[in-house]
């Protein structure tokens, strides 16, 4: 099971809908990913949240910043409607990446937790990085590796994050860029050193209009080996650890604090039965259509209990 948890979704606004051109490009990219052998991909939605510091022209900013209370309208990634043909070929999940520079911006994150499969955060300064690790229930932390890291990576902070189950993400498209390659390598080396070779995943981070940026699993491994990651860990970064991120996110959606979860599909992270059709006319009056129980209804299966009851009759 190969995972690629970062294929950029072309839409950058909450209320915007994906155009047909963009959708076709995205589908091309997904097809390429499928050809390269990936089985689980996540579409990464990166909303343009403006800085809360620049409150000067407040009217404009507030309008942009406002997120509608109707949870059904937030997620632009409509897996059931737009990506129907991939149902049995490749597993598609939704992911949101939020840039934060101020811990006070994090109130919205609890909303996103129910709507997106994976919630990841891109901290811009040290304060937000610390608060993301200690306070928030998130799955992934990604950095903009082309620039300097927000702070010096300490063993203690990173290891506490890994202990909690938060993973760190590298994007291999950063290497393909001719700009700042040295910076990217030094940044990754810092994270590898501080995390003690654990708790990292690698993803493509490719734009939907540039499918040629996608690489096969075997082509990425030499780059990782260059940074002194052994081949077993390279494997884990693509497979096991990426699945752990997915599992963490999916359990948040499907279960109550990982105790009792809804089942009926193949495994813990599957979203075959889930209702992801956000534009669906909301007949059931449910705040969040993804949490609807109706799509999980199935015919009673023939258990041995039923057989015995029939016999008794």
């Amino acid at each position: 099971m190969l995972c690629d948890l970062n294929i950029l979704f072309p839409v950058t606004e909450f209320n915007e809908k994906i155009s047909i051109n963009q959708l076709n490009e995205l589908k091309n990219t997904i097809n390429v990913a499928e050809q390269l052998g990936y089985t689980h991909i996540a579409l990464n939605f990166r909303p343009n949240l403006t800085n809360s510091n620049s409150n000067s022209n407040s009217n404009n900013n507030n309008n942009k910043f406002k997120i509608s209370n109707d949870l059904n309208k937030i997620n632009p990634i409509n897996i059931n409607k737009d990506f129907k043909e991939y149902l049995n070929r490749i597993k598609i999940f939704s992911r949101i990446t939020i840039k934060i520079d101020d811990p006070s911006q994090c109130q919205n994150i609890s909303k996103f937790q129910q709507i997106f499969d994976i919630v990841s955060i891109e901290p811009i300064n040290e304060k937000s990085f610390q608060s993301a690790i200690s306070n928030l229930e998130i799955d992934l932390i990604s950095f903009n590796l082309q620039e300097r890291l927000p702070c010096y990576m300490k063993h203690k902070t990173l290891c506490s994050a890994i202990e909690k189950g938060i993973f760190f993400e590298f994007k291999y498209t950063d290497f393909l860029n001719n700009k700042n390659r040295a910076q990217v390598i030094s940044n990754i080396k810092q994270i590898v050193r501080a995390s003690r070779n654990r708790g990292m995943i690698i993803s493509s981070g490719c734009n939907s209009n540039k499918p040629y940026q996608l690489r096969n699993f075997n082509n990425v491994i030499p780059i990782l080996k260059m940074i002194n990651i052994d081949s077993n860990r390279c494997n884990m970064m693509f497979k096991d650890w990426s699945l752990k991120v997915l599992l963490n996110g999916r359990l948040r959606c499907k279960s109550y604090k990982q105790t009792i979860l809804i089942s009926g599909d193949d495994n813990l992270i599957d979203n075959k039965l889930e209702n992801n059709n956000w534009n669906y006319e909301n007949l059931e009056n449910i705040n969040n259509i993804k949490q609807s129980l109706n799509s999980y209804k199935k015919r009673k299966s023939d258990t041995s209990l039923n057989r015995i009851l029939k016999k008794q009759k």
Binding site: L251, Y256, I260, I262, S263, E284, S292, K300, L305, R307
Partner: protein, 292 residues
């Protein structure tokens, strides 16, 4: 006095002492007054008791002997183990003992059956519970009523639940005794595929009672026209103690007559007694111990 005292009047009239009814009425009036010469008291003289006394003494002796025995047993136990958690009188320990005994019995009977089936291979084809050696084994059929009770309880609990988070949070503090569990993931391969009614849920294990011969092998053989032989243990059924660690169970909750919703019980995260679970505030943890 308004009382006529008819009976007494009649009795006294037979008496030679009184001549005429006037005298009798006078006497009777005095009889029930507080000031008259006669007083209305009854004298009870002590008797030796006769047969009644002997019986009483015997009974008393018996009772005291019983009490002495009881006290001596009690005092022995209480001296040896005051507040001992292994005390045999505790219900919990009695239950434990019963479970251990029935598990032991099951094992020995299964061994005997295995030996018997070498001599007589047809013995496992029939319903083994009718054999004489299986008389002490617990039957699955006796516990079906428990499952019906649990179904009603679930109907009440999940009446107005429309979303996953509400339903699962309610279920996480629900009681599972009586539900029909299937083991889907377990480190012990023998346990995988077991189905049965939950008799008891403790901190570390779930006690299932499983039916005879009716398990996953039936499903395979009906689909593929294969016949997979049942082992002696599977033919016997009975109690199974399944650890919660590294185990996942699934169970169905009925929605209406034809449809049901499947839920999954993650044993790693439910390692807590059902009593404490009702008030527990759960937290998400690192998922490194949960496999897909």
């Amino acid at each position: 006095m308004d009382r006529s005292n008819a009976i007494e009047h009649l009795l006294l009239s037979r008496c030679a002492k009184y001549n005429g009814s006037g005298e009798i009425i006078k006497f009777l009036e005095q009889r029930y007054s507080f000031t008259g010469p006669q007083k209305n008291y009854l004298v009870l003289e002590p008797t030796d008791g006769g047969q009644y006394l002997i019986d009483n003494q015997k009974e008393e002796q018996k009772a005291s002997a019983n009490a002495k025995d009881f006290l001596s047993v009690k005092s022995k136990q209480s001296n040896a183990s005051k507040d001992n958690k292994y005390n045999g009188l505790k219900t919990k320990n009695e239950f434990k003992k019963f479970v251990q005994q029935s598990l032991k019995l099951q094992d020995s009977v299964a061994k005997k059956l295995h030996k018997l089936c070498k001599k007589n291979p047809k013995i496992l084809k029939q319903d083994v519970i009718e054999l004489k050696i299986c008389s002490g084994i617990l039957k699955f059929e006796d516990f079906i009523e428990m499952n019906n009770l649990w179904k009603n309880y679930m109907k009440e609990l999940l009446q107005n639940c429309k979303t996953i988070d509400v339903a699962t949070s309610k279920l996480s503090s629900a009681e599972f005794v009586g539900s029909y569990f299937r083991v889907t993931h377990c480190t012990c391969p023998d346990n995988i595929g077991l189905e049965g009614i939950v008799l008891w849920e403790s901190q570390t294990y779930v006690l299932l009672i499983i039916p005879r011969r009716n398990n996953w092998k039936d499903n395979i053989s009906s689909n593929n026209n294969l016949e997979i032989p049942y082992t002696a243990k599977e033919c016997l059924g009975g109690l199974r103690m399944i650890p919660k660690k590294k185990t996942r169970f699934t169970f169905d909750v009925e929605v209406d007559d034809e449809h049901s919703i499947e839920f999954e019980f993650i044993g790693d995260r439910m390692g807590i007694r059902s009593l404490d679970r009702a008030n527990k505030k759960f937290k998400s943890h690192n998922v490194k111990d949960i496999d897909l």
